[in-house]
Amino acid sequence: MKRLLFLTPVALFVVLIGVFFVSLQRDPSLLPSMLIGKPVPAFNLPPVRPGDQGFANADLGGEPMLLNIYASWCAACRIEHPMLMRLRREGVTIHGLDWKDEPEAGFGVLQNQGDPYARVGNDRSGRVGIDLGVSGAPETFVIDKAGKVRYRHVGAISIEDWDQKIRPLMERLKAEL
């Protein structure tokens, strides 16, 4: 009994070290999304492309698709852009949300680097982004057929992210009724 008492510090320590060790492999800056499994909050945004129609939450759903948050001031978005262009060529539907940005600047990005988006809206005040729980650009949401958020990716999408996480998920969503 007494010996057991003296063993408790060791036991607690082992647990603690285990947690630390696991935590080391984790990214402390990732935030879980509150929207998983929920429909995207209602919004209706003005266009980025002059003369285009805008972008509203009604445009989401029907098929699995991506909702990408980008901005002209965001450096990581530029890294991600070629990846989005590739996905677009492969037939993935991507909608864009130009976050906390002037529509002209947002359009400039599309002109200079190509336009991967089916619909794209300008969220100048950033309020729609905040409704989505966006903390920075780029971020990408995977939307299912019912228009619900199924996954949120923070930061630029890399090839591994696509191959290992997002594409398998999109395929599963396609198979869903």
Binding site: D27, S29, L31, M34, I130, S158
Partner: protein, 164 residues
Amino acid sequence: MKRILLITAAVTALSGTAWAVEPDEMLADPKLEARAHDLSREVRCVVCQNQSIDDSDAALARDLRIIIRERIAAGDSDDQALAFLTSRYGSFVQLNPPMRADTLALWFGPLAVLLLGAVGTFVYIRGRSPDKAAALSAVEEAELADLLKHDVVKSDGTKRNEAG
């Protein structure tokens, strides 16, 4: 990579001045403004490290401060305004962690440590009941006198000699 970017963002946000509420954000009604001020001190800035939005000069923190003021001006209670933010960013934005099943250890852990320690101390003191033998026996007194009489060094040295 992502990690590096975010951390850089955090560092950059900090290397600037820690500039907080700006005059143009403030509500006209001092009572509401004071509530908003207090509330924004309990909301964590999601892009910086360990700062409340009240202390942060990040753009997103400013947006959130303005949202809080809008909610309060629109008649929301503090809890409603806070719920507006947690429904978007999760409990991460609450500097005051919510009381839930998984935070019980956090909230009551210190008290548990105190109580366990108190029980342990009680058992410890109880287990060592008052003086069993108050006085030393004559033999012991003699041995003690011998120990104390000798110089510290000498007494030890003598013993060593005997042992060797």
